[in-house]
């Protein structure tokens, strides 16, 4: 039931930038990406007094045609990572390799070629569209910037795109304020689609939408993926949505990936205590599951990314923490008994069937929570 009604097949009228897409390497490889935001003080001579460690050594691969879900709570760095991948932020260190080419050090000018193949959909359907510009020019912008189409040709293309995402092409001249939230998100999708990208990074694309409209957008994204052979990095905090759309899921905590696995594997047998707690905390819209499941309640707040805990960053809130966890940082690796694609960064992974006990936090954790709550950095920088 895809949008096969679209009069053209947009994938065919733009020659691909790469001559022959090599299938042997992943579309996107992120290696050891680090992003720190400096905190500066002073008026004339700013000196750095610290930094928000938003993303701290993240590595992952995104395969052609798949949807990689990225979950985590506020301040875990998932949105920052998304902006590092799309190079909206310069990296502090590490590499982003897109289709075999390292784009992590390219200048803005050099990046333009890659921008055509890598797009982003934003969370806020109100903030991400310029309120003073007409829908036609918003969607046509990518075509104008990259000199792909002009005048009547551009208008024709934009109207095609509007039809593809389920908007009335006659509304070409309207302003964003004349559309509802779901329709605005369709405008954002059309803009991202205009350059026929191969990768779209979706940053919480449905979080701000009403339930019934959410499903419309999720279905639209799924249809487009099939039709245009898209690869998605899908960021969300709603676990049900991520489970629904993703092929594989990565879980982030305080700037690091703590677990990554196939969706069914991760939701079925989470190994990292944080993943387990996150899954048990999410409220499923099913009364039996919602009330019968054992809920692991984590205590305290997420520590400050300015001064993250030593060792495993989760140890201050972890119900299974041992002394070694505060000293030694566990690497992301395949745990005993797990399939090859399931990696977890934990010294004491949760055994299948094990029930975590939501223990009251140790005193040191409380102290960390206070540090996190100290003035002007309480919610951390970054994302």
């Amino acid at each position: 039931m895809a949008d096969t009604a679209a009069p053209v097949n947009p994938a065919s009228d733009e020659p691909s930038l790469v001559a022959a897409p090599a299938e042997d390497h992943p579309l996107l490889r992120v290696e050891n990406v680090v992003k720190h935001f400096p905190i500066k003080r002073g008026i004339f001579f700013k000196r750095q007094i610290g930094s928000v460690q938003a993303v701290e050594g993240v590595s992952l691969e995104v395969r052609r045609g798949e949807t990689l879900g990225l979950v985590g709570e506020t301040g875990c760095g998932k949105s920052t990572l998304a902006r590092c991948i799309t190079r909206l932020y310069p990296l502090t260190s590490g590499q982003v390799i897109f289709d075999g080419a390292d784009i992590s050090r390219l200048s803005a000018r050099q990046l333009r070629t890659y921008r055509r193949r890598m797009q982003m959909i934003f969370q806020d359907p109100f903030g991400s569209l310029n309120p003073r510009r007409r829908v036609g020019s918003i969607i046509g912008d990518p075509l104008a910037i990259h000199g792909i189409a002009d005048g009547g040709e551009r208008k024709r293309r934009v109207q095609e795109l509007m039809e593809v995402v389920g908007l009335n092409p006659e509304h070409y001249n309207r302003f964003p304020s004349e559309f509802s939230g779901g329709q605005r998100q369709r405008i954002g999708v059309a803009r991202a689609l205009a350059l026929r990208p191969s990768l779209i990074v979706c940053d919480e694309p449905v979080s701000a939408l009403d339930v019934s409209v959410q499903a419309q957008i999720i279905n639209l994204l799924e249809d487009l993926q099939g039709e245009f052979n898209l690869t998605y990095v899908f960021i969300a905090h709603d676990l049900a949505v991520v489970e629904h759309v993703s092929d594989r899921v990565a879980v982030m905590y305080l700037g690091k990936i703590v677990e990554l696995a196939e969706t069914a594997e991760l939701f079925g047998s989470p190994r990292h205590p944080y993943t387990a707690a996150l899954l048990s905390a999410s409220m499923v819209a099913d009364p039996e599951k919602a009330r019968s499941s054992h809920r692991v309640v984590l205590y305290g707040d997420v520590p400050s990314p300015i001064n993250p805990p030593s060792g495993c960053r989760f140890h201050t809130r972890c119900p299974k923490a041992q002394p070694i966890c505060s000293v030694d940082e566990p690497p992301l690796r395949v745990q005993a008994g797990d399939p090859a694609g399931h990696v977890t960064a934990c010294h004491f992974p949760v055994a299948p069937g094990e029930q975590l006990v939501g223990a009251a936090p140790p005193i040191s954790a409380t102290a960390t929570a206070f540090a996190a709550a100290s003035p002007d950095i309480s919610e951390g920088g970054g994302a």
Partner: protein, 363 residues
């Protein structure tokens, strides 16, 4: 007798574009110690109705009745309402920052909340404030009472707000989208806390939310609202297992992981209507897959249906048309078939006419 009994509540706002009819004849009851979940999308009138009970909608035209422990709330003067607010009925809001005054210390604000309603000494109120903060598990409450709101983390602010709301042991707590801005683990903390406080204080709760997951977790009974009216009301199991109203059915089909969804999501078509121009008959009919001629013409009454005890629904489908599985949908479909006439034909024609280039080939 119910703790709170709302009958035929109607709220409208005059604006420059026309009259916004936010709530149109809403009736519900809240029993002592129970939790009522009010579910709806943006513009369904769910928040407006709660705010109106407490006289927090200046400028609105309100009619109907809302009896709380024998007192008619809608007839109270502002100063009488102030006595009810906080002491008898407390409210917590979505945004913890906007509900705490940024320039006063947290403890002082809680003290004021207490001393507005009770004659207590400042020292005694402060002692209670510390105790309340301890109750909502804010660590080191003796220190935290003298903190300013911005010195607390988001989760702690939310908990401080709850402490303030519960300071006078209200009989009813209205939580307006209490978890919307929060992360999953914080949500879980918060709802556990609220549940514990509810048991301890024996208070009733109204949880207003768009999150069916939250309702599935905490509510005893559920009221689904659409375009300012009650669409369906039942205990939480019935709502998820045997919904009657196609809107409830549609919501369940559009949420990943919900009872009625499986595989591809089935969204409800279109958008919620503008509250200035509400569709005729049943307001849901333009989006309803089971719309019949009568739905375009007449507004369905809120009547008992067969999902279980106290199951009410405002829909013209027969009372036994309940359920989320395919068989239930087929039964609804069969019932509808003979009842579609010129009105539905006109609706289809209007939809086709509004589309560019008429009908679109369907894949």
């Amino acid at each position: 007798m119910s703790l709170l009994s709302v009958r035929d509540l109607t709220v409208s706002f005059p604006t420059s574009d026309g009259v916004v009819r936010a709530v149109r004849g809403l009736s519900f009851d809240v029993e002592a110690g129970q939790t009522l979940g009010i579910v709806g999308e943006t513009g369904s009138g769910k928040s407006v109705s709660a705010l109106s009970l407490l006289g927090l909608n200046p400028g609105a035209d309100i009619s109907g009745s809302a009896v709380f422990e024998g007192t008619e709330l809608l007839a109270l003067r502002q100063d009488q309402l102030r006595r009810v607010r906080g002491a008898e009925i407390a409210m917590i809001f979505q945004d913890p920052l906007s509900s705490l005054h940024p320039y006063y210390r947290v403890g002082w604000q809680i003290c004021e909340a207490i001393r507005t309603h009770r004659r207590t000494s400042r020292a005694e109120a402060m002692r209670q404030a510390v105790e309340l903060l301890r109750m909502v598990s804010i660590p080191q409450p003796e220190r935290r009472v003298s903190a300013f709101p911005h010195e607390l983390s988001g989760g702690m602010r939310q908990r401080a707000m709850i402490a303030m709301a519960l300071a006078l042991r209200p009989k009813l707590l209205i939580a307006d989208e209490p978890t919307t801005a929060l992360d999953a683990t914080v949500q879980a903390q918060l709802m556990e806390l609220l549940g514990g406080m509810q048991r301890e204080l024996g208070m009733a709760m109204i949880v207003i939310t768009h999150d069916l997951g939250l309702v599935a977790t905490v509510a005893d009974s559920v009221l689904v609202m659409y375009a300012g009216r009650g669409a369906e009301r039942a205990d939480y199991r019935t709502i998820f297992r045997s919904p009657h109203h196609p809107y409830t059915r549609g919501l369940l089909a559009s949420i990943p992981g919900a009872a009625g969804s499986g595989g591809r999501l089935v969204p409800i078509v279109g958008q919620p209507p503008s509250l200035i121009r509400i569709p005729s008959g049943c307001a849901f009919h333009p989006r309803c897959p089971f719309a019949m001629d009568v739905c375009v013409r007449d507004q369905p009454p809120f009547v008992p249906v067969s999902g279980g005890e106290g199951h009410l629904s405002a829909c013209w489908l027969p009372p036994d048309a309940v359920g989320v599985d395919a068989a239930a949908d087929v039964a609804r479909q069969r019932y509808v078939e003979g009842r579609r006439g010129p009105a539905i034909a006109r609706l289809r024609a209007a939809v086709a006419g509004a589309r560019p280039g008429g009908a679109v080939a369907h894949g």
